[in-house]
Amino acid sequence: MVRLFKRSAEKQYRGMTRWGRFLRNLTMILPVIVLSLLIFTAIFADLLTPYPYDLTSLPERRMPPAWVEGGSTRHLLGTDTLGRDILSRAIYGARVSLSVSLLAIAITAVVGTILGIFSGYMGGRTDAFVMRVVDVALSFPPLLLAILIAVSLGPGFFTVVFALSALGWAGYARIIRGESLRVRNSDFVAQAVINGVPPWRIMLRHIFPNILNVLIIGITLNVGTFILAESAMSYLGIGIPPPMPSWGSMVADGRNDLDRAWWISTFPGILIGMVVMSGNFLGDWLRDKLDPRLRQL
């Protein structure tokens, strides 16, 4: 009896860890599938979409999705107030939303990393100055600045990228600066100085590779933030100008018709949610994988 009990308990324990392991990896597998599918559709939008994104068809206005009463298979996800195909617009919207946020992430990550490493390595007054600028940037309301930039530069792709990047670098700079500070005080950096390695080389070769994991985690966690910020700008009408769709502006398009035509806002909204969640899941998973303190289990 005792042995049997033991065995079954062991079996249960094993099963649970396998389930746990699967769950843990699921938070990596699912986001990767979702994100790569979306990037794929964004790249091949011209081939995949049934209709051009700006093709209006007034007789087919507010047509519900195919599976709803009154829907048609010609417009799988229905049409918006101007009779434009929502599926096509969502696919093109992926192109805009993803490219804007990826570009903004690249800019902020590069600027933030360079400033962060420089600030952390130099220390002293340089560090104090950079960090005060970061404080100012972080205390500024981002949406207000985005509106100011959009108003003064006029709407457009690069205006949105610039507006998103203008403050986004500060978060990176602060995190990277903290990490650089930790690395610069380690003995191997002292040893490099002893060997006569010049400062720029120490930053590039000794500090940068040792903060890379933090940077990667920061980037994945930021994907969601930037998608949301871009959507917010488009929703407010200061994003990419129409008729070019972005998920945020599509949600905005449907806000007056939520009671009659819920699908106009819902599908792009779901896409935004999926990308944000994918980014966050992937970031969490990477953090667990790359952080040696959490790797013990």
């Binding site: 380690s186 191997f188 100085v193 002893i194 060997n195 006569g196 390695v197």
Partner: protein, 322 residues
């Protein structure tokens, strides 16, 4: 003497803190000959590490600053060099080995790449030549199978091996002077003995001068030709190693030697020096060892003892002698 490689004259190094100036090194003078091992011994906080860092000019700035003195290496005063010129001296002329082998290597590069970095910086060589240099540096430190080991990451090596790699990096450009700051503290006794023997070997092969900073008299006796004893930022006694052990003249030196545990004596308790070193923030006017000295006289309280050379190469700062 012409074979003097390094001459430190009246070196003053201070740390400027919020509470005031801390005189970590206060008028230290010594010289190191070519191919000689010079020991600096003293208790924690006496300024031996700061002396080493001052020579290679790696004080944690802006708090730590060299206030005065000269550090003459092979005819040039290092304190007058620009930062860029100093970088060329580091690694090529002077090198330094730090205490902890576990953290002195960058975890993301193979040890071969790390040695190659300083080889490339200081010598203009082709890649195949760099490889040869790296392997010969590892061979100099007697690391077995260097051709295979160059592709290892630091985490794949034991502490003793890592400390040898650190040594190989330091020796990779055949510097004239090597500053070793307690390089054996983190190693266990057998590895320590091997490591010390290795350094004697390297010195024979390359004629490098070594400044050995330690608190371990065993290491001093084993390694050094001459020794300086430091106390509260000053050198209190300099002598040949054998002479220092045979006839220590300064009460502090005597006390230090007496506090080393010995197997051939069955003392009830280990000898220890009463009291604490003075605060480096406000130093008393007289001899700094006065409050702890068993042979203190009235003059010791009021005036600092001058440095007196009592025999060839043996000098002491103590009123008992002068």
């Amino acid at each position: 003497m012409s074979d003097i490689l390094l001459q430190v004259e009246d070196l003053h190094t201070s740390f400027f803190t919020r509470a005031g100036e801390v005189k970590a090194v206060d008028g230290v003078s010594f010289y190191v000959r070519e191919g000689e091992t010079f020991g600096i011994v003293g208790e924690s906080g006496c300024g031996k590490t700061v002396t080493g860092l001052s020579i290679i000019r790696l004080l944690p700035e802006p708090a730590g600053q060299i206030v005065g003195g000269r550090v003459i290496l092979d005819g040039t005063n290092l304190l007058e060099l620009s930062k860029k010129e100093m970088r060329k001296v580091r690694g090529r002329m002077i090198s330094m080995i730090l205490q902890d082998p576990m953290t002195s290597l960058n975890p993301v590069y193979t040890i071969g790449d790390q040695i190659a970095e300083s080889v490339r910086l200081h010598q203009n060589l082709q890649d195949s030549m760099v490889e040869d240099e790296v392997i010969s540096a590892l061979r100099l430190l007697q690391i077995p199978a260097p051709e295979a080991r160059v592709r290892d990451y630091p985490f794949q090596m034991s502490g003793g091996m890592r400390q040898r790699v650190v040594g190989a990096i330091a020796m990779s450009c055949y510097p004239r002077l090597l500053i070793a700051d307690e390089p054996t503290t983190a190693l266990d006794a057998t590895i320590q003995a091997q490591y010390l023997a290795l350094f004697k070997d390297i010195q024979k092969q390359t004629n490098v001068s070594i400044i050995f900073i330690t608190h371990d008299f065993g290491v001093i006796a084993n390694m050094c030709h001459r020794v300086a004893v430091m106390y509260a930022g000053k050198i209190v006694e300099t002598a040949k190693t054998s002479e220092l052990f045979k006839t220590p003249k300064h009460p502090y030196t005597t006390a230090l030697i007496n506090s080393v545990p010995r197997l051939d004596r069955k003392d009830e308790r280990l000898y220890s020096i009463e009291g604490q070193p003075p605060s480096l923030m406000d130093l008393p006017p007289g001899c700094l060892f006065f409050p702890r000295c068993s042979e203190a006289k009235e003059i010791c309280r009021e005036q600092q003892p001058p440095e007196v050379e009592i025999s060839d190469g043996h000098s002491v700062s103590c009123w008992r002698v002068s």
